[in-house]
């Protein structure tokens, strides 16, 4: 089957070359051929100047990650014909949210810098080196251990797209690998650092990382685990944790989300004042949320009974900082 590939070309180092531009190649795709095999065919038979990375060809090394028809994929485990049949096109571009070095090769340095920020090594407390690790302990961090550092999640991350300083999903998932490890001795310190600006609370929960991770690491789930652990460890003095606390409180009181109370509790008095101009505009359109005027849902006692039951089981209610 002959399939037209449209490939983004760009050599930012070559001042003379035009770019970026798309060049088309026709590939005779056999059943089962992967996108990476097609690229190898193009570079071997037609255009040796096409730059791209690959190594293991078995979805293990992570180096062949690219954008295929708009979404981050490992090209070595993506078959050409089904992808083409689904999308009606074959457009290959470098990973998004990364600087292009040449053609399909991107600069991974910021990716590694974020990883380093997550301190990807165990720092056991004294004596814990020999502490037993149960199967359940291991299972908690299983998913975050599967990462092959391909960068697909960061390429799809909506928050990273807007804020390049955001810690982003790959390093967050890695952070849970250590925070969630029973042998780790510095959870609280780690959680404090992760809760700083541009940290875990800046994730917009778009789920793209989880959807496009080829190894099912589920980075968003690991971020949720970090946030939950941070709250339980009493790391509450930040807008993200305050926002969640306000929600939990609102649901327990009214059974509903109380927009006004949440704004006030998350931002505090002074920053809420900054919302006044927008508030006035909303008021004119009848959209200003009213604090505490919310009707309670029926049978709110059932909701409270559920809170109590969970609290009994897991000692909920995050500790306030003294």
């Amino acid at each position: 089957m002959e399939i037209k590939f449209s490939i983004r070309r760009h050599d930012p180092m070559d001042r003379e070359s035009p770019g970026p531009y798309y060049r088309e190649y026709v590939v005779d795709a056999a059943e089962g051929m992967t996108v990476l095999e097609a690229l190898l065919k193009i570079s071997e038979e037609e255009d040796p100047t096409l730059a791209f990375r690959r190594s293991c060809r078995s979805a293990i090394c992570g180096s062949c990650a690219m954008t295929v028809n708009g979404f981050a994929r490992l090209t070595c485990n993506l078959q050409v014909i089904p992808e083409y049949e689904k999308m009606g096109a074959m457009r290959i571009e470098p990973l998004a949210n990364h600087r292009v070095v040449k053609d399909l090769v991107v600069d991974m340095a910021p990716f590694w810098e974020k990883m380093e920020k997550a301190a990807p090594f165990l720092m056991p407390a004294g004596g814990s080196e020999t502490s037993p690790v149960t199967i359940e302990d291991q299972a908690r961090i299983d998913e975050s251990q599967r990462c092959i550092m391909c960068g697909c999640c960061n390429a799809e991350c909506n928050s990273l797209e807007i804020d390049e300083r955001f810690i982003a999903p790959a390093a967050s998932a890695k952070a849970w690998r250590f925070v969630g490890d029973v042998r780790e001795g510095h959870q609280a310190k780690r959680l404090e650092r992760l809760s700083e600006e541009h940290g875990i609370w800046d994730c917009v929960r778009c789920i793209h990382c989880t959807q496009y991770c080829p190894k099912d690491v589920k980075p968003l789930k690991q971020i949720e685990s970090l946030r939950s652990a941070a709250m339980k460890a009493g790391v509450l003095d930040n807008p993200g944790a305050r926002h969640v606390e306000a929600m939990a409180d609102s649901v327990e009181r009214f059974g509903r989300l109380d927009e006004a109370a949440m704004t006030f509790k998350t931002l505090g008095f002074l920053r809420s004042l900054g919302m006044i101009p927008l508030g006035l505009k909303l008021e004119r359109h009848g959209k200003m949320p009213r604090p505490y005027l919310f009707p309670q849902i029926m049978e709110i006692d059932e909701v409270r009974a559920i809170y109590d039951e969970i609290e009994k089981k897991s000692g909920l209610k995050p500790k306030k900082e003294e």
Binding site: D202, R205, I207, M231, M247, S250, A305, I310
Partner: protein, 291 residues
């Protein structure tokens, strides 16, 4: 006669308050289409994604309480909020997938005298129209086709992902919103950002990220020729419409883009008036595109 479509109706907190125009419009169009919406007076908030950060088991139990109510009504749930859809669907997926988790959650529910056996499905208005009701049937109800209107479909994230919990549409090649726009006689606009995030989850937490994200999405649709946006999610609506002024500042460009709730666009094509559909509640007036 086709059997009446009946749903346990879960508007979500934000559509009962800040964006209540979409709740009103939904009830109006459902009435005209003959879709039965039955209120859930006991239903609690799904947690809007935030309770998962607080405690996963609490999030599961509170969502299971919603499902138990629908189960007692012997109906599936219909919501008009993509975030509620995602949050409830993910909880439902986890509970249905893992009998031990369901059992454990039921032990918590027992404290409130409740039980969920795992039978409920969760849908949103878009799926009900494009799936259960059917777009051919919807077309027959269109009395004032929205000719010439170029509409940017804004799915946002939560009506498509995680696809293993939602399932109705394809996250890489979605069709339902475009097909609905076409059924109403308007023209869908293609643009990259249609399945990306509006940023609402961090409106109060990382405001700069949120407003810029909203601005980038609006400009993306605008540059691809949209006259207006439509979204199935009230939270997306809040960012795209209410916060458009802030978004304009963050991208340093005037945008002036009307944003419809899905229910309103359907209502307009069915001949309902802007007043009935609460269009005056929008901060960016849609008047210009309705002439």
């Amino acid at each position: 006669m086709a059997e009446e479509l009946k749903y346990a109706y879960y508007p979500g907190c934000v559509s009962q308050h800040m964006t209540r125009e979409t709740n009103d419009a939904t009830r109006l169009i459902a009435g005209k289409l003959g879709i039965g919406l039955y209120d859930m007076p006991r239903a609690n908030c799904c947690g809007a994604g935030l309770l998962t950060d607080y405690d996963y088991k609490l999030y599961l139990a509170l969502n299971a309480r919603i499902f138990a109510e629908a189960e007692a009504m012997e109906m599936d749930i219909m919501t008009i909020c993509s975030t509620c859809l995602m949050v409830m669907s993910a909880a439902n997926r986890d509970l249905k997938r893992d009998p031990r988790l369901l059992e454990e959650t039921n032990q918590v529910l027992a404290a409130a005298g409740l039980h969920y056996s795992g039978k409920v499905e969760v849908k949103q208005l878009l799926w009900v129209l494009a799936g259960d009701y059917g777009l051919e049937r919807l077309k027959e109800q269109v009395t004032r086709p929205l000719g010439r209107l170029k509409v940017a479909p804004f799915y946002g994230c939560h009506s498509l992902r995680p696809s293993d919990a939602l399932g109705f549409d394809d996250p890489e090649k979605p069709w339902s919103l475009e097909a609905t726009i076409r059924a109403l006689g308007a023209e869908p606009v293609e643009y990259r950002g249609k399945t990306k995030c509006c940023g609402f989850q961090v409106d109060l937490v990382a405001e700069k990220t949120a407003t810029k994200m909203t601005g980038v999405r609006l400009l993306d649709g605008k540059r691809n020729g949209a006259d207006c946006f439509v979204t199935p999610c009230p939270f997306c609506h809040i960012n795209l419409d209410n916060y458009q002024g802030l978004a304009e500042k963050s991208v340093d460009e005037r945008i002036d883009m009307p944003v419809f709730h899905l229910s309103q666009l359907v209502g307009l094509a069915m001949g309902l008036s802007p007043k009935e559909l609460g269009l005056s509640r929008h901060l960016v007036s849609p008047e210009r595109v309705l002439k």
